[in-house]
Symmetry: C2
Subunit: 758 residues, 2 copies
Amino acid sequence: MAALVALAAGPLLPAAEFTVLGFTSERAAAQLKLESEYDKHLDAADLRTWLERMSAEPNHVGAPHNKANAEFTLELFKAWGWDARIETFMVMYPTPKKMFLEMTGPVKFTAKLHEPAIPEDRTSGVTKDALPPYHGYGADGDVSGELVYVNRGMPDDYKELAHHGISVKGKIVIARYGGGWRGLKPKLAYEHGAIGCIVYSDPADDGYSTGDVYPKGGSRPSDGVQRGSVADMPVYPGDPTTPGYGSTPDAKHLPISEAKTILKIPVMPISYADAQPLLAALDGPVAPANWRGALPITYHMGPGGAKVHLTIESDWKLTPCYDVIAFMRGSELPDEWLMRGNHRDGWVFGAWDPLSGHVAMMAEAKAIGALVKTGWKPKRTLVYCSWDGEETGLLGSTEWGETHAEELSKKAVLYINSDTNTRGFLGAAGSHSLQTFVSEIAASVRDPQTGVSVLERLRAKILVDAAKKGAEGDEKADAKFAAANPGLPLGALGSGSDFTPFLQHLGITTLSLEYGGEDMQAGVYHSIYDSFDHYVRFGDPQFAYGVALAQTVGRAMMRLADADVLPMRFVDFSNAVERYSDEVHKLADAMRESTAQNSRLLDAKAYQLAADPTLTYVSPERDAAVPFLNFTALDNSTLRLKSSALACDAAFTKAMAAGAQLTAAQRTELDALMSGLEHSLTNDAGLPGREWFKHMIYAPGLLTGYGVKTLPGIREAIEKRDWSVAEHFVIVAGTSLDDYRDRLDKIAKILEAAATKN
Amino acid sequence: MAALVALAAGPLLPAAEFTVLGFTSERAAAQLKLESEYDKHLDAADLRTWLERMSAEPNHVGAPHNKANAEFTLELFKAWGWDARIETFMVMYPTPKKMFLEMTGPVKFTAKLHEPAIPEDRTSGVTKDALPPYHGYGADGDVSGELVYVNRGMPDDYKELAHHGISVKGKIVIARYGGGWRGLKPKLAYEHGAIGCIVYSDPADDGYSTGDVYPKGGSRPSDGVQRGSVADMPVYPGDPTTPGYGSTPDAKHLPISEAKTILKIPVMPISYADAQPLLAALDGPVAPANWRGALPITYHMGPGGAKVHLTIESDWKLTPCYDVIAFMRGSELPDEWLMRGNHRDGWVFGAWDPLSGHVAMMAEAKAIGALVKTGWKPKRTLVYCSWDGEETGLLGSTEWGETHAEELSKKAVLYINSDTNTRGFLGAAGSHSLQTFVSEIAASVRDPQTGVSVLERLRAKILVDAAKKGAEGDEKADAKFAAANPGLPLGALGSGSDFTPFLQHLGITTLSLEYGGEDMQAGVYHSIYDSFDHYVRFGDPQFAYGVALAQTVGRAMMRLADADVLPMRFVDFSNAVERYSDEVHKLADAMRESTAQNSRLLDAKAYQLAADPTLTYVSPERDAAVPFLNFTALDNSTLRLKSSALACDAAFTKAMAAGAQLTAAQRTELDALMSGLEHSLTNDAGLPGREWFKHMIYAPGLLTGYGVKTLPGIREAIEKRDWSVAEHFVIVAGTSLDDYRDRLDKIAKILEAAATKN
């Protein structure tokens, strides 16, 4: 019984011991020994060397150093014993030819649109191959107009503008970053009639207000600019001109004008040095308190005052996108693929984003290769993926996933993603059937700074944060979970990195694992200053968390590869579904109440009476009353799911205790059932207006972009007040959950058999 | 039945009709007619003329124009038919002789400490008799030391500093205004070992962040400074050298060193222009997010970096303080005094604070005088008071109240206060037995901007704010009240103006009534720019709310003067007590839970694990577990109070319906019982460490200064974790409530008799 990993928890945490989930007690000890061996092959010096080399030159899609990095990665994987290759896609990849922004009145001002070199940052002076700050997949255009400040440019901000009687029709809007995904800012601006969009980084969010600016500290300097994609990725990610299919070299591309995810108005990112004169020149009402940033000005909403002229011309061309794909073939179940990916392309030097995660993945591959050289072989196949083109729209992962969809539907067991990785706490999100598994992994990895397990440290953080701040929403749910359970609460995945095609399009069980939270990434995010020099001062100077990530994901990959039974716990999933179901019920109830209240206030003219008559105030619209929705199908499916999940988990425990005596055929059938579970949560018709997104439990929000919406069909329809659609998705989600449960029942049956056999 | 004032409410508000509370239906119509007559004598032009004249020169205590304003007020009152006189007190009143602040390192900087003239503001160039920005009753001193930024300088801020391992011992602190009363900042700094204190106005709170600065807009310009008293008024207000007794010309004064409310360290107010170089020079940890203001710098906590040198020398001398007291003798009950006051002294020109309220009070006195000249006479005596010396410590009102304490204990029925008055919403607070009465008054005054009653407008504001923001605490309680009741929720009074000696020291039923909330006062508060020119642009340009205040308070005074039965409703009071009692129960429960949670987190070393190891972090102290407190006496007294209040209100209604047939003796007895009600809520031993504060239901918080603490003996003892003191005050408050109830039972008996007589 050496197979217990003690969870080093104080009396705060319910005492708990984890087994090595999926391994019989006889085999668990060997697995733990293997992991110790694995750890010996991890070397922080490797990560440092690779990071410095790979971030030495601009490495966006199409940059020479991007290709060099792909080849470097390829060669290393091969040298480590992997069967590696480069897969090339030809993606529509606009780059700026001309960018110009000036204020034409009341005073003349030409924006700098340039990030100067900083002597303390060696690569900031490397201009060869570097692109200027820009937004990928905005429209080309040459527009002039009055400026309107729209705060974060999110739906509530347009409601606020409407209260002030302000329209952005025919205007150019300026929004600050934050509050929602950047691509929504120009999209919503366009939908409200704006002809152009400027997005700037307010010093309140990542500049001097948050810390000393680079190079004294890590925060965003006045000329720093956040680049980024603005493609309408909540509709579909990947190459906008090849929706739903791979941009293989011979693929047919839609014309730009037909690509739904390319925006219709020009949009440009700027620094706060460039933004300040524009904002200072604005007239119109004083912006409400929650619209004010940290610039030393009075924020006005406009219009009036500033007039601006904005020009963007891009080179729209097909560009090669290089994915490096490496296989370590499974000895027993070679057609079961455990996939692992991190992107490799940056906006400029990309030391933080993405190379800090990429070098950890390389360390895993090196260590696994070393173990294989000493005789170990994974039972299931490992597939390591170095993605290109993530920054502009998850290009490399999406095009690869779309290209190999059919093969993946047969072979993929799971996908694990990471991206930027740095000092701090384990961030874990994904399919909830893996929550206990991830908790176990986290209990077995030592936090480099404190010496306790990364699980214990994360749990301390969740509980202390909640105690300090009084948690709300997800944080509150997490704290409640941590107070009552020994493990960690897995987050739900929206979008923002390469897991999206696997989880939400293909329905593959997915995890995102990375460390962070004690760093200063925000100050250089997507700027020229995202550099090796910045990372080793303000990120993970010892690369200790790079090693921790390699330990974490490496353990996960090896346990998944060799598990007797795939390590899934289904009550974790049914609990998550129960919570999401409860949330959508409450959402409808809260909307019903607030809608009724709004009507009462309108009846009483209360908004007008409460408003300052010397200022313009337009009362909110009156919404139709919110009916009671028929949630029965969801409620019953959730109920049934729970009972099947309980039975299945019990059968799993019994089977493991009995040594999991499975025939080869049973194991194949069991693995197939488990691998297909996540797919049963998809629906081929997808979500309204975005059929590419097929997962009925997790999706990025149409109006949040990165942020997740759980039970998205139901939740977003309620938010849109589209009651019949909401009720339709109650049925669809219920059916998905029923399919999931049917599989659970079959899994339980096999496990019961495995438990009774000996 | 013409005596109904319809409450002009939409379907949002429960339909309600108010009678003229305290008047039989036969007499109510005449009273309403009298009020119409009264309104005719109110003229906005008067208010404007008086305000411009009285704010033309500096008018602080001791300034020639202060005396001139007293004489001007006296002459007008006399001319309007009042029996008026000036009562002079000799108060210890320090004024600055020398003020100096410099940063000696890392760079040299000398603070300007001066508010320059602004051409658009005529009085800002008047320097004759003006005092520079300073804090009243700080210590003299000449100190040098390292600077530490302490955010608002409130108790939680020192806890945060402790977490960072920062002590202010031997240091000079700089705090921003806000978060609690200004006098607490140097007091707490001293208690934590600081040797000097600087307080500045951050632009986030009243400067450019809140609106365009004066003169373009109304917000605080970069050189504007908030003056103010820092006397330790939560211990006792008034002249620090005559605690508890009047500073009559022959009074004996304590030496400065023995005056408990004079501070022990020098303290100086500065502008944000002067603060910015000091804050920018600070080293030490980056300040937490909620410590950051709107200056374009990274806020650090210090120490290290800035060293400063601070000098203050004052002229400590006795100065005359002139109260104008005017009587309009009652025709039937001359020894029942209805008092009304507003202070007259400003920090410099004082157009907003206090003269905007003072001129409304003058308008009332003029109109009442005019009615008297046409034959009406109040049945009870009206006493109008123009207080001096409020700004430095409620000097005029406190010394007068202390001097006349004995007479007031026999004669005072009620005191109504106002202070700054401007455009917006009715702000009403005070003794809850007057809540229905004030609601009625508010239903009868028309809002100048919207045409509905000021009650309806206020209710709309309460409900809309709660709907918009999601109300918390008092706002939530107010919204709940407004949704369920036709009237307005009266606030509880802490301190901050001249009502304090009457309510909290003498136990006299008290109201504070004034308009505001749609203005830009904050930007010039206690600065040289608090001027007529600013007020007529950013305050109440038409003086319409000055007239509204005169209507509001005038109605209240006249109804109280002539009521058949004093218009009190006791269930309003018992409901308030019930709420406060519920709050202190919940406070103890929440502390019990958070203390236990804190212990669990400490046991698990969770604070250290959650903290960034590269930064200093000191875990919070472990507090002893919170026991269950014996609230029985309070619970039972509250229960009994409610039943007596219900019975008394019912008897009141019956008596009024029956024509309130009272003999003269019964009326005198009834009025005496009602007038003494509030006094029964006092306890002569007062609150811990501050016996001057005798009210057991309402007090300014020892650690909030202006902000109220209800059931203060209990609540503050719980907050201090002084369980035996808390339980002691449970008994004391219970006894007070029992005394109150005994009076209610006697009142009910008389009213029952009055109801059955005819």
